[in-house]
Structures are given as C-alpha cells and as structure tokens.
Amino acid sequence: MTTQAMAEVGTAEPKKVKGTPRWGDVILRILAGLVLLYLFLPIFVIVLFSFNDPKGKFNYSWQGFTLKNWADPFKYPPLTDALKLSLNVAAVSTLVAIVLGSLVAVALVRQRFRGQTAVDTFLVIPLTAPEVVMGAALLTLFLDFGWEAGYTTIVISHIAFEISFIAMTVRARMRGFDWTLEDASMDLGASPTRTFFKVTLPLIVPGIVAAGMLSFALSLDDFIITYFVSGSTVTYPLYVNAAVKAAVPPQINVLATAILAISLLLLAVGTLYRRKRIEG
C-alpha cells in the first residue's frame, strides 16, 4: 500500500477512481434520475390531462383523448378573467416592489451606515413569516382600517412580500462587482447622479431583471395570502381553488401547460441571448 501511494505521488494524473467503487457512482446517478422523474410526475399528468375528455365535472380520471380543450382554451370567461387579473396584479406589484427593493439592496451593498445589520435582519423576517400568518395579519389590518378587500388590498399585500425577495436577490447578485468603476467615473468629473445612471444602474440591471421575474412568478402563484385579502375578487389561483370544490374544467390544464411552454421558451431564448452576447 505504501509503495503504491509513493509511486502515485509522482504521477500528475488525479486519482479520481481511487477508493471509489463504480457501482456507488451508478446508484447515486440512478437515485438522482429517479428524484428528477418524481419532480416531473405531476407535470406529465397535467399535460396529459389537458388532452382528456372528462365525462363529469372533474378532470381527475382518464376518459379518452381529445383535442377540443386545446381548440377552445378560453371557453370559460371567468378562468380567462382570473388569469388576466393575476397577470395585472403580478405586473403592478412587481414594478413597485422592484423600485423599493432595489434601492434597499443598493444601499446595503454600496453604502456603510449605522443600523445596517438591523435593516438586513429586518428584511429577512418577512421571508420567514408563514404565508398563513402574513395573510391573517394583513386581514386584521385591513379590518382595523375598515378597508374593503379587493384588487387594492391584493396588490398592497403582494408588494409587502415581494420587497424582501427582490432586495435579497439583487443584493446577492451585486456582490463581487468591481465598484472602483464608480470611483473612476467620479474621478473623471461625473456627478453622483450621472454616475448612478451611467455606471451603477447598467451594472445592477441584470440582477434586477432576474429578481423581477422571480417576484412576478411568486405573485402569479400566490394563493394563501391572496385568499385572506381578496374579498370577492378572483385571481387565477383562487379560481383554481374554487374549481376544486365545484368543477375542474380541462381548460385549467390547457392554460397551465401553455404557461409552462411559454416559460420554457423564454428560458431558452434568454439562455441563447446571453450565450450570444458572451461569444459576440
């Protein structure tokens, strides 16, 4: 054993296989593959059932193949309206939260000020509040204020949980940038405002876009908080929840599959665009 080890000291080859039984590696890869399959199992079901021809009100068991759901995806106006409303809420709340959250992130990374750690901890707390508690707390606030629950209270609540997500994501993306560029800009006589718009902003925009996309997705998908503060207003997840109690049309699966396909397309385009920019 010793001589073997000594013989290996001189060789430049990294000893990758030493002590690693091949079968262990294979088992690990199979396990990972199975977990990946598990993640996709419901997705297969959702896509498959968008082609189902259900007999009753519920699209839960396979009855037969049809294309008619795809031919008429907007058959149920309440479903389409709910989806439109959710897109609206996600867009408005994300825009506001981006401004508020990014300012905090820039201040935390670029500035030194008293109470910085406190602000840092304070921003994490909303991320750790369970949604049911945050929804309940916002509901009691709106009851105390005497505000009627609806579109406005939904947007207000979404902004409240998005700010921390955006601030944390932008902050994480900003670490490790070359900030001497800012000093260089000011050394060359640019005003702080000009430096911000010409140097700082272009540096942080990719992080802000990524954070905005995350926030948009979170808003679109939010059920629990919205459920508490929505009154009689119906967003997309709220429509789906009501459907579970009454009737689940296959169009729900059609729109879910369409959203998935569009996200996939955007992801692919984004990746290709980035690759091209790096290569070009």
Binding site: P130, A137, I224
Partner: protein
C-alpha cells in the same frame, strides 16, 4: 483614513437612509403594523350582538389557552408533518443536488433548469395532479396493491402520507437549490485530499462533504419547514378531516367561522414558535446563506 476619505468624498451621509426609507416605511405599515393588529386581535374578546359583532381589546389571554387546548392535535400534527416532510426533502434532494454539483459536467445548467421547470406550474394545479396520481382507482394504488404493499381496501388519498407527500413535493425545490449552492462551493481538491489521506468514502462524506454542506442543509430545512408548517392546501386537497393542520384551523376560523380572536391567537402561536427557531438560526449563521 485617507483612503476612506477619498472613496466617500462625494457621498452624502443621508443618501443611504433616503434609499432604504421608502421600503422600510412600506414594510412598517404593511408588515409590522399588521402584526400589531394581529397581536391586538389575539388579546381581544368578541362582543356585541350576532348582527353587529365587536372586538374589545382587553388582554384576553384566554384565547391562547383555548388555542392550545382546542387545537393541540392540529398544532402537534402540523409540526410532525412539517418535520417529516423536511426530512424527506433532505433525503430526496441530497442525491440530486450532489449529482448536479459534482457529476453533471456540462449538463449542469440543463439539469438545474429541469429541476426548476415543474415549479412554473401553479402550486394548486400541481397538488390537483397528485390527487389524480394517488386516486383510489389510479395506477399507483393498483401497483402497490398488486405487490402487496397496500391492503386490498387500502388508500393513499386522504391519509397522513398523502399530505406529507404533497408538502414534500411542493417545497422540495427550496431544499434542492440551497443544497446545490453549498455543495457547488466545495473545492473538489478537499475531497481528493481526504482520499489521499486514506479516508474511506463514508469518512470523506461525513468528515468533509457533510460539514461543508451544512449551511445548505440548514437553510433548506428552514425554507421547507416554515411554509410546510403553515400550509393548509395539501391537507385540504390530499387529506381528510383526520389530517387537518394548524393552517386549516386558522383559515377556517378567520374566513368561515369569523372568530377573529381565536384565529389570531393560533396565528401568533405558529409565528412565535417559528420566529424563535429563525432567530437562533440567524444568530448562529448570519443571514447570508438564507437566500
């Protein structure tokens, strides 16, 4: 000091405060004040008539005693379910995160994309899909029945395991990603070094990989445990009246029964228990690894 003076020369002292002010004011009004409202409601008692109910704030701690005595089953169940789901997430996520970090090579980004993809479908619709998969006449129940793992009249839907399975599935992404991030940071030379020093695979796993992956394990555990403990959708869609969690009670008391003080007291209990855990965690590790 000279260097600091140069880099700060044009920055005003109030600039950072102006930048954080809007967000802090917003979170003050729509995050801190709501918790004050919640706390106040939890210590109020319902009064007035059936037609014109009123809430009177009078330090009514009875709500808390009632919350514990009436709903101790749901409180205990929530924590058992959420803990089990967190452990299952860890068990399932570790091999996948490990393979992505160390074995995926040039497919790394592709697999990461695939891992995130299912979560582009609304949480509720994913849970409905599990209802189909676990249905009594579904192929999973059929397959388990035919190999004798499930008695002939056995079901999966409406059991504790269906709820725990739903919780696991819906939040596993929050375990995979932090685990991957901390495994990715490990220098492979450290693992090689441990093997050069005659460490067995098991030893280099427990002595090198696991300690370095710990921030990811802890962050992932919190990010799964917190939403899972407060969830009511999985128990509602996949469970039965025997599997209700604290979230179901809070939701029902607030939106159906409208017993605001009881619901608020339950919410406070859930929040306080989680807050203590998070504070201990951030004290020990800082906030950097949490997101």
């Amino acid at each position: 000091m000279a260097g600091a003076a140069t880099s700060n020369r044009q920055r005003s002292k109030i600039a950072p405060y102006l930048m954080i002010l809007p967000a802090l004011v917003y979170l003050g009004i729509f995050f801190v004040v709501p918790f004050y409202s919640l706390a106040r409601t939890s210590l109020s008692s319902s009064g007035g008539s059936v037609y014109l109910p009123t809430l009177d704030f009078n330090w009514d701690f009875a709500n808390y005693f009632e919350a514990f005595s009436h709903y101790q089953d749901q409180i205990i169940r929530s924590f058992v379910y959420a803990t089990t789901a967190t452990l299952l997430c860890l068990l399932l996520a570790f091999p996948l995160a490990y393979v992505i970090a160390f074995k995926a090579g040039r497919y790394k980004n592709l697999i990461l994309g695939l891992v995130i993809l299912p979560f582009f479908v609304t949480f509720l619709i994913r849970t409905i899909a599990w209802k189909t998969i676990l249905a009594d006449d579904g192929w999973v129940v059929g397959a388990l029945g035919s190999i004798g793992l499930l008695p002939s009249e056995g079901r999966l839907l409406s059991t504790s395991w269906a709820v725990i399975g739903g919780l696991t599935y819906n939040w596993i992404i929050f375990m995979i990603l932090p685990l991957y991030v901390s495994l990715e940071k490990i220098d492979p030379r450290l693992i090689e070094a441990s093997k050069d020093l005659y460490s067995t695979n098991r030893r280099s796993f427990t002595k090198v990989i696991l300690p370095l992956a710990m921030p990811g394990v802890l962050a992932g555990s919190l990010l799964v445990f917190i939403p899972a403990s407060g969830d009511f959708i999985n128990a509602d869609y996949l469970g039965s009246t025997q599997t209700t969690m604290i979230g179901n009670v809070i939701q029902k008391q607030f939106l159906v029964v409208k017993d605001y003080p009881a619901a608020a007291a339950l919410s406070m209990v859930l929040m306080l228990i989680i807050l203590v855990g998070v504070l201990l965690y951030t004290r020990a590790l800082g906030t950097e690894d949490l997101v």
